[in-house]
């Protein structure tokens, strides 16, 4: 026990000095577990997050919009892959992460448990949901675990395109026909509050946050990030002529920040518990694709094995 304590102290000092932790370095088991949980959750969010947007690819109203949306959803698949790859450096195989996602043991961002009935949602998701994600991800480029930080750098480079894409879709609606403008406002009404929930429980109710901050996995608290997001987004909504659905929202000169209303935490916890409109649908979709693909993955493995055997045969014959 004594040695362990000193290793942990050494680890803390190492992290405090802004060093990056690399896969084979000693790390507290809990640090490793926290990272696996967080990185895989992040990866799952990218992957499950493909579904609500993929839903509109076939119906995108212009070829340009279709191409951009398709490229965006493909980026998300790529980001999921970078993140699974980072988590695998911690000794967690992807197949296990997928199994945990499908069994419900692992979580993903609750925002994707809401449906996307409207084309305007393709804009709002890019603008608000990706906007909120970026807030978090920019912070994570400086996270203490090397492979995670490097994945985040790659992701952030691509993610700013997503937010601009989303904002452009909303802008075209907001400046379009009255029906289009109504479409944009209706979508904002639905997504505003779930977007604020993306930052997680408030700091008083976020038990894991403190340790994560200490280990520099997280570098800003949930409430700080949420406030930054609100401050950044309100002027963007004003520019579009859309109103944010919060009667308590107002600029606080003294704090230099916007004040905003209370989040409906009951809804937040309910959706996490599995009671969102799409929780079941999202997982069922993932399971279906995975199961229907099993024979394809098996075939590719069988073929690779045969090829390897043939190569060996050629080599020994020569």
């Amino acid at each position: 026990m004594g040695t362990n304590v000193s290793l942990e102290d050494k680890f803390q000092a190492f992290v405090d000095a802004e060093n990056k932790v690399e896969p084979k370095d000693w790390m507290p088991e809990k640090y490793r577990k926290t990272l696996i949980r967080q990185i895989s959750q992040h990866a799952h969010s990218e992957i499950i997050g493909m579904q609500p947007e993929a839903n509109w690819i076939t119906r995108a109203p212009s070829l340009r919009a279709k191409l951009i949306l398709l490229a965006k959803v493909q980026d998300e698949a790529g980001h999921g892959l970078y993140l699974y790859s980072a988590a695998e450096t911690l000794g967690e195989p992807r197949e296990k992460m997928i199994a945990d996602l499908q069994s419900g043991k692992a979580k993903y961002s609750s925002i994707f448990n809401y449906p996307t009935p409207s084309w305007a949602d393709m804009g709002t998701i890019g603008w608000l949901v990706d906007g909120a994600a970026i807030q978090n991800q920019v912070m994570l480029t400086r996270t203490s675990y090397g492979p995670y930080a490097r994945a985040m750098v790659k992701i952030c480079k691509e993610e700013s395109f997503h937010q601009r894409q989303g904002y452009e879709v909303v802008m075209k609606l907001a400046q379009g026909t009255p029906e289009q403008k109504a479409m944009a406002q209706e979508s904002l009404n639905r997504w505003w509050w779930p977007s604020l929930m993306m930052f997680g429980p408030s700091d008083d109710n976020s038990p894991n946050s403190e340790q994560s901050m200490k280990w520099k996995i997280k570098r800003k608290s949930n409430d700080t990030l949420r406030q930054e997001f609100v401050d950044k987004t309100v002027p963007q909504a004003e520019y579009l002529g859309l109103s944010i659905p919060d009667p308590d929202l107002k600029w606080n000169e003294e704090r230099g920040h916007y004040d905003f209303g209370e989040i409906n935490w009951a809804e937040f916890y309910d959706v996490i518990k599995g009671n969102g409109p799409c929780n079941k649908e999202r997982i069922a979709h993932h399971v279906k694709a995975h199961e229907e693909g099993a024979w394809v993955r098996e075939a590719a493995n069988a073929y690779a094995k045969k090829q390897a055997a043939r190569k060996e045969g050629d080599a020994s014959a020569a």
């Binding site: 084979k24 370095d25 577990k33 790529g78 197949e95 994945a151 590719a300 493995n301 073929y303």
Partner: protein
């Protein structure tokens, strides 16, 4: 590993001549051809003139960080950490 899981490959890219290959991440593929193609799709979005290496992760032998490293490292020759074979419950501290 069940029959339907593909093995893990490490991906190295040379983004232009004059630079060396650099590790960029990993991916799953059934064979080397597929791994190269996937690497192009995923890590380069098919930019041309990029040289790609893929190596099965299990084929890489890694050194152990030397002793003046600030942290003690378990001595093994895997690139990454061992998978943990024993799940320690989250509420057990300092294991």
């Amino acid at each position: 590993m069940s029959e339907s899981n593909w093995k893990l490959w490490e991906v190295f890219l040379r983004s232009k001549n004059g630079l060396s290959h650099k590790h960029v991440g990993s991916l799953h593929a059934a064979d080397a051809d597929m791994a190269i193609k996937n690497a192009r799709d995923v890590y380069t979005r098919r930019s041309e003139g990029i040289s790609i290496w893929v190596v099965p992760s299990e084929e890489i032998t890694a050194s152990s960080p030397d002793e003046k490293d600030p942290l003690f490292t378990p001595s093994d020759d895997k690139v990454y950490r061992h998978p943990t074979f024993y799940d320690i419950p989250d509420d057990v501290e300092h294991m």
